[in-house]
């Protein structure tokens, strides 16, 4: 059975809500039925086959080809399937994802991995602002799973993040880990201003020395036993984080945000 493949015929002027085209909603549907699914496109609706050329039949293995940055809500609440995006993804990529795997061979927009619950999201390009964050007004962002970004991420990555692991190979923008409740964010590149703003608990693992606010206090240099275990868990990932030469257990530890609970930590490679 070949992968169910949606190939974009022509980019649309308005944004498209891709949430109906997710593995668990397409189970046992024929290509003809899938072709008739209506997608919200701006203020009008558009048939799936008007936007995509549809081939293949494996609804648990979906490929979106020629994807562009206005395709929103790709892999929304995905459960147990695999989705691959060839090109860019729009906003809300893998929002509320429950399990399975999503790979984007391009960039992703705002709110990727927003309120994600579990599974693996790999973005081979850059990600926009609010990666793994909570929707405005909500209290908890990403609650589990693993996000890998091979490029850079925007501002507020991990805002209100509750649990899970976010691995960023590139740079992170301002307010990384803002209001973070728990979990782990690792950044190999640089980090912007206001790192860990109002961070409550959780770990920021950094390869480059950050600019920290006065509300993060130096706790000294330490060898931490959990780091080798954590790096060992990265070994199976398709990422620079799986490279044993990138692993370390010796860190400078900063505690904060003392303007909040002060139980979070920023660990910087020594």
């Amino acid at each position: 059975m070949s992968a169910l493949t949606f190939t974009v015929k022509q980019e649309t002027a308005q944004r498209v809500d891709m949430s109906p085209l997710v593995c668990q909603l397409l189970t046992n549907k024929s290509v003809a039925e899938i072709a008739g699914i209506e997608l919200q496109n701006g203020k009008r609706k558009i048939r799936a086959d008007a936007l995509f050329e549809i081939t293949g039949s494996d609804t648990q293995n979906i490929i979106i080809k020629n994807s562009f940055a206005k395709l929103d809500f790709i892999a929304k609440e995905l459960q147990d399937g695999n989705m691959t995006v060839e090109g860019d993804a729009g906003a809300y990529l893998a929002i509320g994802m429950k399990s399975g795997a999503v790979t984007v061979n391009g960039d992703a927009g705002l709110y990727a991995a927003c309120e994600m619950k579990n599974g693996l999201l790999t973005i081979n390009g850059n990600a926009g602002d609010f990666l793994g964050a909570a929707l405005p007004g909500n209290k908890q962002g990403m609650k589990g799973g693993t996000v890998i970004v091979k490029g850079n991420v925007g501002q507020r990555a991990g805002d209100h993040m509750r649990r899970g692991t976010m691995l960023i190979e590139g740079n992170a923008g301002d307010y990384c880990a803002s209001r973070m409740i728990a979990g782990t964010i690792a950044v190999m590149g640089s980090t912007g201003r206001f790192l860990g703003y109002a961070m409550q608990r959780g770990t920021l693992l950094l390869w480059q020395h950050p600019t920290l606010s006065a509300t993060f206090n130096d706790c000294g240099s330490h060898t931490l036993a959990f780091l080798p275990i954590m790096f060992k868990s990265f070994a199976k990932l398709d990422s620079r984080f799986a490279d044993p030469t990138q692993a370390f257990d010796r860190v400078q530890r900063f505690g904060g945000d003392m303007a909040e609970k002060g139980r979070a930590e920023v660990l910087v490679k020594l």
């Binding site: 649990r163 728990a182 782990t184 608990r201 770990t203 330490h222 060898t223 931490l224 036993a225 959990f226 080798p228 275990i229 954590m230 060992k232 868990s233 139980r263 930590e265």
Partner: protein, 298 residues
């Protein structure tokens, strides 16, 4: 049955069901992992008075431990799940949390999960932090030498306690030498411990006592100094009897350990004063697991 001049009694060792778990202690080197493991398994020879039976299973290479440091695996057995959990937690708190550079991990994933560091974390007074890695929860407890890392839970499984055999010899030193040889071989076997000091018991017991407060008392039938005044099970030339007690995760694990242990004793043979191998049984009333010596050695 006679092996190398040693008579194997047509009897069986009687064992009973227990609950067990395995924990892995690591440290910056084997010395400190062993110190912690010895402390944690100390005073854990018999459930009669210790609350649990525990022992060191084996030394682990760094490649076998979760954190890549030298380690020691220990097994703990108790009569019930609650007792096991209590002993595990108490001993972990007093002997591993306190031991320099130590970390503590689950050694069994399957079975019902019981707390390992789940409650020890409160020692951190609010400064403890959790990390969930590959589905397992770890606790990081700040302590004065750095950080105590412990897995939250470990698996509890059904197990077998009280496997045993008796070594009957012409002299005390010959009985002990034979038991030492047996223990060397038995320690190579997985999933078993010999919980008594050095693995050898000189005070084998029978069920009950003339004193109502005691549940167990000396096994007078095998006490050489009582040969003339009790219903003895010893022939005139036997001057010393020692016992090896084995707890195992399964009956087969105990079978295997008994086989190599008895064989090691028999290898010394009658020429070294070893006359008989027997076993402790209580008429089949102690437990459902029976280890027939002649079947094991067949």
């Amino acid at each position: 049955m006679i092996i190398n001049g040693v008579s194997i009694d047509a009897t069986f060792a009687e064992a009973f069901p227990m609950k067990a778990t395995r924990a892995i202690i690591t440290a910056q080197n084997e010395k400190w992992a062993m110190i912690s493991a010895q402390a944690m398994t100390g005073f854990a020879t018999s459930v009669i008075a210790c609350g649990c039976e525990a022992g060191i299973e084996r030394i682990l290479n760094p490649s076998e431990t979760p954190d890549g440091r030298p380690g020691v695996s220990i097994l703990i057995f108790a009569m019930g799940g609650k007792g096991l959990a209590k002993q595990l937690e108490t001993r972990a708190g007093q002997c591993v949390l306190t031991s320099p550079t130590s970390a503590l991990f689950a050694g069994i994933d399957e079975g019902e999960q019981i707390p390992l560091g789940k409650n020890l974390r409160y020692f951190g007074d609010g400064f403890q932090t959790s990390k969930k890695i590959d589905g397992k929860r770890y606790w990081r407890v700040p302590v004065m030498d750095g950080e105590f890392l412990t897995e939250a839970t470990t698996g509890r499984v059904n197990a077998v306690g009280g496997g045993n055999f008796l070594v009957l010899a012409e002299s005390q030193h010959q009985a002990l030498a034979a038991c030492e040889a047996a223990i060397i071989e038995m320690k190579k076997m997985p999933n078993v411990i010999m919980p008594f000091p050095g693995g050898v018991v000189r005070s084998g017991s029978k069920v009950g006592s003339k004193y109502p407060a005691l549940g167990a008392s000396t096994n007078d039938a095998f006490c050489p100094t009582l040969k003339g005044i009790t219903a003895t099970d010893l022939s005139p030339e036997i001057e010393s009897v020692m016992e090896i007690v084995i707890d195992g995760l399964t009956k087969e694990d105990i079978d295997n350990a008994m086989r190599v242990g008895i064989q090691a004793v028999c290898d010394l043979g009658a020429k070294n004063g070893i006359k008989r191998i027997s076993a402790g049984n209580y008429g089949g009333k102690l437990g459902p697991f029976h280890f027939h010596l002649q079947e094991i050695m067949a």
